[in-house]
Amino acid sequence: MRRSTVFGLFVLLCVCCLAALGVTSEIRVSRFLVQSRDLSGITAALKLTDISFSDDARYTRNPSQADIFSAFQDYPGSIEHFPSGSVTPPPDFSSLGAPITVKRR
């Protein structure tokens, strides 16, 4: 068999594999969308505000409810000591407006 044919078959196999994963993904997503109604029901009934993603500190368990400068509890951009905190970015301060500037006389 020609080498180019072998390469062509390899690419075709990978593309078929991706197509199969695409189909699986569609099926799993549609199943999740049905399930998400139940999940959303639990959120509404228990009035939950956060996902249980990482419970090693209160500001990683409930990032939306923690202090405004979480996950950097000491000051914005400080080095985090919790591993999961190191993958959480500092909050977006762009809404706070322009920085205060001191004019020289």
């Binding site: 969308l33 139940d38 639990i42 009934a45 939950l48 996902i51 993958v87």
Partner: protein
């Protein structure tokens, strides 16, 4: 040029690649790894974001916290009457919740008072939730159930802030599918939460405010802040924005892991782009000497770049998909888990953003082909004699 002649050039390219198989397989391995890491991060962060947005759709429109000395404090429940008077507010409900450290399993639980019952057709809870006024009963998340070997009918003992042990009969266990939301939850009746945390009478953790029209929520939040200056209203929009930032394109997760992979790829591409090896130059010179045109050499190098980058891209993206959606992103799990003891055993829904995949392909395959072609083109336009002699 006929199709057959293109295939002949491809055949020759593959033969030439196989001649230097250790080097080329090495490049494919590194390239696949970079695509795998980058693809995994993209899949993981996008799916987390989409799931979080769908799950948190049912969150309260507005949460009112009380701040004292820059910290979250308990809030007097009776201010809900004042908040209810604000036009547009349809309901205010105090929330009673907190964290409980269990020294037995060295894990943190989230204790929450039940306020509503779940609809009977909710498939994600085995058994039932405790009623708001129930005493001595609990519903637990799957993570807590696993850590404490609990099931419906068994009992769990917690130590209250007053120092006395409180026993609860487990009447409900959340299903595994809801772990991302409920893994560390223990839902109790409100009197039990108040007793467990020794909350002063009339105090709640925060208030959940319902509004008639969500677009009015920021105005209502402003009014609450005006009437009660020591409060901090948190809008649902802000909650969603938090998760958008945590799992967004500019997230720390991306920056932490993607930056390393990107630098590695830039070094690889730079190494290729800055010059050909003496052997490769000699090969180009010989091909030119036996009659190959510059365009043939460029085509050969195009195929070479395409074979390596396309194979690596396809393999990397397939492996990334399998890693994230079949193995729960086990490579990243230690970083994501942190020091959590109860960690959700999540199976993410494979939300795929075709735009992100196209971007990844454009950022990896095209620059690699370009970095292969440009130095070869430079060598191919030089006199063969000069190239072969070096």
């Amino acid at each position: 040029m006929s199709l057959n002649s293109h295939l002949n050039v491809l055949d020759f390219t593959l033969l030439s690649l196989l001649r230097r198989k250790f080097k080329n397989f090495g490049i494919i391995l590194v390239f696949t790894f970079i695509v795998f890491i980058t693809g995994s991060i993209l899949f993981l962060s996008y799916s987390f974001k989409r799931e979080a947005l769908l799950i948190l759709k049912g969150s309260p429109e507005l949460i009112v916290q009380r701040m004292s000395a820059g910290r979250h404090e308990l809030i007097p429940a009776d201010i809900s009457k004042e908040i209810l008077k604000i036009p547009g507010v349809s309901g205010v409900e105090p929330r009673y919740w907190g964290y409980y450290y269990d020294p037995l399993v060295k894990a943190n639980y989230t204790i929450l008072a039940s306020s509503e019952t779940l609809p009977a057709n909710n498939h994600l809870l085995q058994g039932r939730l405790p009623g708001p006024e129930d005493k001595g009963v609990a519903a637990v998340g799957r993570g807590v159930a696993k850590a404490r070997f609990l099931d419906i009918g068994s009992s769990i003992s917690l130590l209250s802030s007053g120092g006395d042990a409180m026993d609860f009969d487990v009447v409900g266990v959340f299903e595994t599918e809801s772990e991302l939301l409920t893994a560390d939850l223990i839902v109790l009746g409100q009197p039990d939460v108040v007793r467990l945390f020794r909350m002063p009478a009339g105090m709640a953790t925060d208030l959940a405010v319902s509004v008639t029209n969500e677009t009015e929520a920021p105005v209502i939040a402003g009014k609450i802040r005006y009437i009660f200056p020591d409060t901090r209203p948190i809008l649902r929009k802000e909650i969603v924005r938090t998760y958008d930032a945590v799992f967004g394109w500019r997230s720390g997760l991306i920056l932490t892991l993607f930056a390393g992979a990107l630098v590695a790829f830039i070094i690889l591409a730079w190494d290729k782009a800055t010059g050909l090896s003496a052997e490769e130059k000699k090969e180009i010179g010989i091909l030119k000497a036996i009659g190959w045109e510059t365009s043939d050499i460029i085509e050969m190098k195009f195929w070479e770049g395409l074979v390596i980058s396309l194979s690596s891209f396809l393999l990397g993206i397939i492996l990334a998909y399998i890693h994230v959606y079949f193995f729960g992103a086990s490579v990243f799990a230690p970083a994501l888990k942190g020091w959590s003891v109860i960690y959700p055993d999540f199976r993410l829904a494979p939300f795929i953003d075709p735009y992100q995949i196209a971007m990844l392909m454009a950022l990896t395959v095209i620059p690699y082909i370009a970095s292969t072609i440009i130095p070869s083109w430079k060598a191919a336009i030089t006199d063969p004699d000069e190239v072969v002699r070096g």
